[in-house]
């Protein structure tokens, strides 16, 4: 009982500190992890073994961690090193790609391809945002897309805000389509042992269907804003796509690494290579081909996010080991009366609402043991609950400016160039789209799985 109380208190305090930004989130999560190890496992449970299990360090020495066909990893909860290693590898790859000008080139290439016409740019950038976010983090996608959108808006004399908002939404939607698109999906996939193709054939289908509605919705609400105020446009002031490439050889290598990574991810269930192995391979190859820039790339990796994940896994491990999450699962099971349709609706809308307000990563991490317990207790299909959780957490984040990382980066990039996006305006345009997609996802889940 004492351990349970301590675990809940640490979790709640951590959440409050993160929301109120009292300290940086990685500092908060690491200190909370330390408190969990000492107070929950040491003082409350008096179990060194459980504390050790939560660190999950032995996973690195298990062949199954690197090669799925070598067996299965012992379920211990705690730190999900597969997620950590994979995210690290992808961060290295993305930094390498950004360094050689890949993303800026891609955006400029597409804009030129559609002859710098606003409406085609609007649609192609939304689709580009969706596709890129399927494979790389949405922060990077929006960082480059929003910057290029503003650059084009200044030349073509249109308001970039509608386009940036649409790109943000599509980045979050694209992230829901694959296992590596959004951190909650990586955590769900690695924790519950789903593959890339499991995601693409489930959440991917839902995201693709939703994208069609989203394209129509955003065009309908923004069509009057997407008009150029320029009488004449001097396209020569725009950089040519080729001139945005800072290192031609590096560009070709980065593009090749990106394509090979997608191939490895798509086929990882068949080849048996785990996402940890893919992450390590990607990082090693990127750094090997980066030469003297390798150190700079390594320095640019977002270690704070990695530290945040590590701390978070330990705190959630505390909740899991003390049985708190089983109580939460029992509560959801009770109010749904064991009815799967009701469970899906609760998990989907609860995840969406929670993710609109708080970081979706801690929420998804907390909910994974909950859906596992629900599946065990009520005999419902775990994968259905997993896709529901993924869609809810990934899509719900689009609703508010603070719901997802892509929103924050997009809103900030626009504001720094003088295009202020207020909460009211953001909610007016993005909240209906979020509700629409959550509703579409619910209908699709009901139709496909129930």
């Amino acid at each position: 009982m004492l351990a349970q109380i301590l675990a809940v208190v640490i979790f709640v305090v951590m959440f409050i500190f993160i929301i109120a930004e009292i300290a940086e989130r990685h500092v908060v999560s690491l200190l909370s992890a330390l408190a969990t190890l000492i107070l929950v496992f040491g003082f409350g449970m008096q179990s060194l073994e459980k504390a050790w299990n939560t660190l999950s360090l032995e996973h690195f020495f298990s062949p199954a961690f690197w090669y799925a066909k070598a067996g299965s990893l012992e379920e211990s909860g705690g730190i999900n090193w597969e997620t950590i290693v994979f995210i690290f590898g992808m961060m290295v790859m993305v930094e390498g790609m950004a360094h050689v000008g890949f993303f800026r080139w891609l955006c400029m290439r597409i804009a030129k391809m559609v002859k710098y016409r606003i409406i085609p740019i609007f649609f192609t950038f939304m689709i580009l945002s969706f596709i890129l976010a399927m494979f790389i983090d949405s922060i990077t996608v929006i960082l480059f897309l929003a910057a290029v959108t503003i650059e084009l808006a200044e030349l073509l004399k249109f308001n970039p805000v509608p386009m940036i908002l649409s790109e943000i939404f599509c980045a979050n939607l694209g992230g829901s389509a694959t296992m590596c698109g959004d951190p909650p999906n990586i955590i769900i996939g690695t924790s519950l042992h789903y593959s890339f193709s499991d995601f693409i054939t489930n959440t991917g289908v839902m995201a693709a269907v939703s994208l069609l509605f989203v394209l129509v919705y955003f065009y309908f609400i923004f069509r009057k804003d997407l008009i150029s105020k320029a009488k004449e446009t001097d396209y020569s002031s725009l950089p040519s796509p080729e001139s945005t490439i800072t290192d031609r050889k590096g560009f070709l290598i980065s593009s090749l690494i990106f394509l090979v990574t997608i191939f490895l991810l798509v086929t990882h269930a068949a080849t048996g290579l785990t996402v940890s192995t893919v992450g390590v391979l990607v990082a090693v190859v990127t750094l090997a081909f980066s030469g003297k820039n390798a150190i700079m790339i390594l320095k640019k990796v977002d270690y704070k996010t990695i530290a945040f994940f590590i701390g978070l896994f330990v705190v959630i491990g505390g909740l899991e080991q003390t049985g708190i999450l089983e109580i939460v699962a029992g509560f959801i099971g009770k109010i749904s009366g064991g009815n799967l349709m009701m469970m899906v609706a609760i998990i989907l809308w609860l995840s969406a609402i929670a993710s609109a307000i708080v970081d979706n990563i801690p929420f998804a991490t907390t909910m994974i043991p909950v859906i596992k317990a629900l599946s065990l207790s009520y005999g419902v299909d775990l994968s259905t609950l997993a896709w529901t959780l993924a869609m809810g957490t990934d899509i719900g984040g689009s609703a508010t400016p603070i719901g997802a990382s892509a929103n924050v980066v997009g809103v900030a990039t626009a504001a720094r160039e003088g295009y202020v996006i207020k909460w009211g305006y953001y909610l007016k345009k993005m909240l209906p789209a979020t509700i629409m997609v959550v509703f579409i996802s619910m209908v699709l889940i009901f139709m496909k799985y129930l």
Binding site: I19, A20, E21, I139, E154, D302, K304, D359, P401, I402, S405, N407, V408, V409, V411, A412, T413, A415, R416, E417, G418, Y419, V420, I421, K422, W423
Partner: protein
């Protein structure tokens, strides 16, 4: 001005800090930057200034803000950062100016040619001044003073390490109520002249 000079002025509401800033700008024949800073930024970026002014010198509730890798979701934060960056660039370019508020004593602390001033005043004198300026009764004047200072304090302390009004963060803190605005300005001019003639200032200009 022969050499670069930046005068940063923080002030309590009603203390006459803004008026002193105007007088200093006139005396040294350098531009005064206050709310017009956003006009300049908006003109440069070709954006609507009204939307920026709505967010000027305002504090964001932490519950409605999220920061990721140095990016903030808060429009207020972004407008503030935009102004800080603009001021730093202006300082780097060697421009001279008087800047009112905008955390300038902290934002420009690395600039060797900056002198920072905080103008405060006694409650009674400030209240009298606010009542006259805004045609308010005693109660409303005090309320306005309290609200304005609370906002300035929260905004300042949100972005700066040092606390708003803490004399340790400024080169000089002066109570304008004792001698009045004219005399206080004269004292400050004397102080700034000494600063400009100081060996440190001359040495840094020679470098």
């Amino acid at each position: 001005m022969e050499h670069q000079l930046i005068i940063s002025i923080g002030r309590e509401f009603g203390s006459g800090g803004h008026e002193i800033a105007e007088k200093l700008a006139l005396h040294y024949n350098i531009p005064l930057l206050d709310q017009n800073l956003l006009d300049e930024i908006a003109k440069e970026k070709e954006v609507n200034v009204d939307s920026l002014k709505e967010m000027d010198e305002k504090y964001t509730n932490k519950l409605f803000r999220r920061t990721i890798r140095g990016f903030s979701s808060s429009p207020q934060d972004n407008v503030a950062m935009m102004q800080f960056e603009y001021l730093q660039n202006k300082a780097k370019q060697g421009d001279s100016f008087v800047i009112v508020g905008r955390c300038s004593e902290d934002v420009l602390k690395d600039c060797k040619y900056m002198v920072s001033i905080f103008v405060l005043g006694s409650k009674e004198v400030k209240r009298e001044r606010v009542m006259k300026l805004y045609d308010l009764n005693e109660f409303m004047a005090e309320r306005l003073m309290h609200e304005a200072d609370t906002k300035r304090k929260r905004y300042h302390n949100d972005f700066c390490e040092g606390k708003w009004g803490d004399s340790r963060n400024y080169h000089i803190s002066v109570n304008s109520s004792l001698l009045g605005i004219e005399e206080t300005t004269k004292i400050l001019i004397n102080f700034i002249d000494c600063f400009c003639n100081s060996s440190d200032h001359k040495q840094s200009l020679a470098q």
